[in-house]
Subunit: 369 residues, 2 copies
């Protein structure tokens, strides 16, 4: 038996957003944050901001004031125990463990199908487990409006105010304002990660927002839209929800596809997708350059024990473990120390960490990635 | 009983240079090579060139074909056991252990006094334990001429052909050619480490050579010259040689002074010092920039296990220990990994490693230096 609806009848905090269930897909290795982030200890399980809470825990901490314990975390079976250890007891029985990674549509769709099975009126909000949001009040306001729009029969993406012409994110092109809502607009189109010149043009128009992958939709609408594009996949997910025992047999045959391609983009072409603009200090901590920004404005940013860091004429981000890290005379350097690997790079080359990981895999050093 | 003259009567290789005894002062921490070099594991005990032999061992290996086992190593009591472990058995009984560090005059002077006590005709050659020489044939030829000149009653320094306007070494100003010798010249003056403009002028004249601290002199001349400047020090050293039991009582009162200031400079003003030019690939491995040069011409120079190094678009010197060291996109970087500290710098800042060590001492982290 799925237990996700166990508290639907329980008393709900009056500040929570009625009908909304938060789904938190906890996957992705965070390759560019290697060697902190590993296949066995992915980004979402790590305390990357020095707060004492992992990114997953921060995500849950941010959501529970809004939805109580209507939080469903979806993760891989490999990480089930680690995730369980990090979650509050009240959420553990709702944890969904995927038998294998089948991309975001299957992960979120499974949660949607289970919620639909228990409560066809449920509204699902999806929030990655490894992003950071600094202004939780602004986030809550944005989300509340998104739910209001969603219940009118829309898939609603949170449209993040871009702060620079990033080439690492897809963009949402805004359309007309939606009558009856404070700030919501139709989505004219989704666009893939652009080259930097194009990103600059987007910012100049004022009509484009970052697609941070957060969206809100009635579960039935979401699955019905999926059913138009990929009926087999929708059918499989609903079958699992109706009979949890079928998970192991159905899951491996499900189509691997990102939810953007499976639902959001097709639905936007049919005018069914809206966006609510938000400026709540969102960051996906895509690499060590981003992590450095997040940690602060000191010339030398330390993630960990400051007593283990000694610099002379250096600036950058240093993550010591249990040994001294000494840096002399480098600008914007990145030094990440771990038990079995030390990474040295700088801000400008932070993206190249993924090539290091790729090279390790080529060498057969899966023990290190 | 001192044992240094034990083999004087033994058969000597015909290629050896008669009367010459090699004295090898093994001291100095090599601060700018931290964290490889430590107070407890100084530079001379380390295999810094990846040959499987420490710098001390390489020094001894270079000298024994020339002087047989007439090699006296002088080190601190702290390093006595480590030095003993590295020396061939035939040299161990000659090892001199200083009760405390009293600078180079006392260290070399003690060896000189002991040699003089056993054999007043002995000629002493002094060779630091932590320098590298790549052309041993040229070195042997230079040394042979230096001994020829020394036995005429001179203190003879080996004058190293400068290859760039170094500011890290003192210079020897050459005077007139000495009649009857192939290349030897009088020393006009010793000059301290110059600013770079001055060093450039020196090189332009063709009359200046690096002072690598290698010299050859009859032991009695050396001690008599010392006696003119610092009679107490000379008397103390000769007293210890006459009565080894007095070492512990006399040693702490000996003047701390470098041999250059105590003997070489005063004697040069009296026209008693000569130099024999040499171009034998000498290097004192003053910092990681120098070490990188020495190790080779690869873009990525590895001191240690290449399998532990992974780079992407990087150049420089990497010394792994037992963990992976990954570097992305840095030029002329230096990464030195050890059990309790990792150093990151680059070629241009290699000298600043001494500031790191100074800061560690200020922090009271003597365990790390």
């Amino acid at each position: 038996m799925w237990c996700v609806s166990a508290s639907l009848d329980q008393a709900i905090d009056t500040r929570t957003i009625d009908r909304l269930w938060a789904v938190v897909p906890a996957g992705g290795a965070g390759t560019r944050l290697w060697p902190l982030s590993r296949a066995g200890a992915p980004k979402f399980l790590l305390d990357l901001t020095g707060t004492g809470r992992s990114l997953l825990q921060q995500t849950v901490d941010r959501l529970t004031p809004l939805v109580g314990d209507r939080v469903v975390v979806v993760t891989g079976q490999r990480h089930r125990d680690q995730v369980t250890a990090q979650l509050p007891a009240s959420l553990v029985h709702r944890l969904l463990a995927e038998p294998s990674a089948r991309d975001s549509m299957a992960a979120i769709g499974l949660a949607a199908a289970i919620l639909e099975h228990e409560d066809p009126d449920a509204v699902l909000g999806s929030f990655a487990a490894d992003h950071v949001i600094t202004d939780e009040t602004a986030f809550a306001a944005c989300l509340a409006e998104a739910v209001e729009v969603a219940v009118t029969g829309r898939i609603v993406t949170l449209g993040i105010e871009p702060t620079f012409p990033s080439t690492a994110f897809g963009y949402i092109e805004e359309g007309e304002r939606l009558p009856g809502h404070a700030t919501a607009r139709a989505v004219a189109s989704f666009v893939e990660k652009p080259p930097v010149e194009v990103a600059r043009e987007y910012l100049a128009t004022g009509r484009y927002r970052w697609n941070g992958g957060m969206f809100v939709a009635p579960v039935t609408l979401l699955l019905d839209e999926l059913s138009r594009e990929l009926p087999e996949l929708a059918r499989g997910l609903r079958a699992i929800a109706a009979d949890p025992a079928s998970l192991e047999s159905i899951w491996p045959g499900l189509t691997k596809i990102a939810i953007d391609h499976a639902v959001a983009e097709p639905a936007s072409r049919r005018g069914l997708v809206a966006t609510v603009p938000g400026n709540f200090g969102w960051d996906d901590i895509g690499d060590f350059a981003a992590l450095g920004e997040l940690i602060g404005t000191d010339a030398v940013k330390v993630l960990g024990d400051r007593d283990l860091v000694l610099t002379h004429g250096a600036t950058g981000l240093i993550a010591p473990r249990d040994r001294l890290v000494a840096v002399a005379g480098l600008t914007d350097v990145v030094v990440i120390d771990t038990a079995d690997a030390v990474l040295v790079t700088d801000r400008a080359h932070a993206q190249q960490v993924k090539q290091i990981v790729a090279a390790l895999k080529e060498r057969g050093r899966d023990d290190l990635v």
